[in-house]
């Protein structure tokens, strides 16, 4: 496969998972520009790591790994002053129901109040990965993965109650 064909195939796969990248960018950044910057960074790191992708695993799982790892080491650029939220824009543009928006915003706010690492684990959990899969993705032990998920779930519920 030529370089351009490879790139086209990659971009097509990425486009199918655009929502996943948007979601990670929204969870890990507060400002619109930072979200866009992280999104680009995720795309770049995914492209760099693409040769390592084997078809034996789901592309979305592989992309989750790259995206979350990139988000964990990402630091926002200094000196940005805007306060427009990345996820505000996504939610407002895609849903018209105020009440539902409010619930989604509340969940997003509660998740964003968690530490970077808790956000990583809860995101994978909410995406339907089991303890063992989360342990494999993060490098945690199975036992620790289960304990952490339980603790973060409790933390998230408390935060949701406080916000609501």
């Amino acid at each position: 496969m030529s370089h351009s064909e490879n790139k086209a195939e990659f971009m097509s796969r990425i486009s199918d998972c655009a929502g996943l990248i948007h979601k990670i960018a929204a969870i890990y950044t507060d400002r619109k520009e930072d979200g866009e910057d992280l999104l680009q960074e995720i795309l770049y790191q995914s492209w760099k790591s693409y040769p390592s992708y084997r078809n034996d695993s789901k592309f979305s799982t592989w992309l989750y790994k790259v995206s979350l790892n990139t988000a964990l080491v990402y630091r926002r650029k200094k000196g940005r002053m805007t306060t427009e939220s990345f996820n505000d824009e996504v939610i407002e543009k895609t849903d018209s129901s105020y009440f539902e928006n409010d619930e989604k915003m509340t969940l997003m706010t509660a998740i964003k109040e968690l530490s970077k690492t808790d956000r990583l684990i809860i995101t994978l959990y909410l995406e339907g990965y089991n303890y063992k899969e989360i342990a494999e993705i993060t490098g945690l032990s199975n036992e620790n993965s289960a304990t952490r998920i339980h603790r973060i779930k409790t933390k998230l519920i408390v935060k949701l109650k406080n916000i609501a």
Partner: protein, 208 residues
């Protein structure tokens, strides 16, 4: 928790409606990352180019002074220093490129990333600590050799020795201190945050 999962699914379907923005693949086309390690890697790469440039200059200088064995010896020493730097930095550069693969598990990615950043910064400090004093001494010796023709004929003037001594005592520690300060100012927050993330993720893990 079921309710949270339902809201999460709704949230996910909202995000799934959003396509990639125009120009999202910009970094792929420019082959440029803004991550700390990528920025340090670029500095390391530029340093390698400078080292290659100095090696070429030294080779040219050696050809010009081919009939002066003492000058050649001094150039040879500087050449060895530069070649050593080229090999060490070059290997480090290739290692960080090879090791920092973001599709590995998070633990490996974070530890490799942190380790690479620390090693590149250490390399920068080492370079400031050794290259500047050695370069200064080599520069003075080279100037004197050109005047005298051989090491045996060098007659160091008191003024030259004094100026070199003052520079060594004042400028070199200042440059070393400045390198430390500049690194701390530029990277301390990034490294602290990265180490906090590693610590948080692997608390209660036995085999860290």
């Amino acid at each position: 928790m079921d309710n949270i999962e339902n809201i999460w699914n709704e949230l996910s379907s909202d995000f799934n409606k959003k396509p990639l923005p125009d120009g999202a693949d910009g970094k792929i086309h420019t082959d440029r990352s803004d991550l700390l390690l990528a920025r340090l890697g670029l500095k390391l790469k530029l340093g390698l180019y400078w080292t290659i440039f100095f090696i070429v200059v030294l080779i040219v200088a050696a050809i010009v002074h081919i009939s002066q064995p003492m000058v050649l010896t001094l150039i040879g020493l500087m050449f060895l220093m530069m070649a050593g730097n080229l090999i060490y930095s070059g290997r480090l550069y290739l290692k960080i490129k090879r090791e920092n693969e973001f599709s590995l598990n998070t633990r490996t990615v974070l530890l490799n990333y942190y380790d690479s950043v620390v090693r590149v910064l250490k390399m920068e400090r080492l370079w400031a600590q050794f290259a500047i004093p050695l370069g200064l001494i080599a520069g003075v010796l080279y100037g004197q050799l050109l005047k005298a023709g051989s090491f045996g004929q060098i007659e160091f003037e008191l003024r030259t020795l004094l100026v070199t001594g003052i520079l060594m005592v004042t400028l070199v520690p200042l440059v070393i201190l400045w390198t430390h300060w500049a690194q701390k100012y530029a990277y301390k927050n990034d490294l602290t945050e990265l180490w906090t993330v590693i610590g948080e993720l692997y608390e209660n893990e036995d085999n860290m």
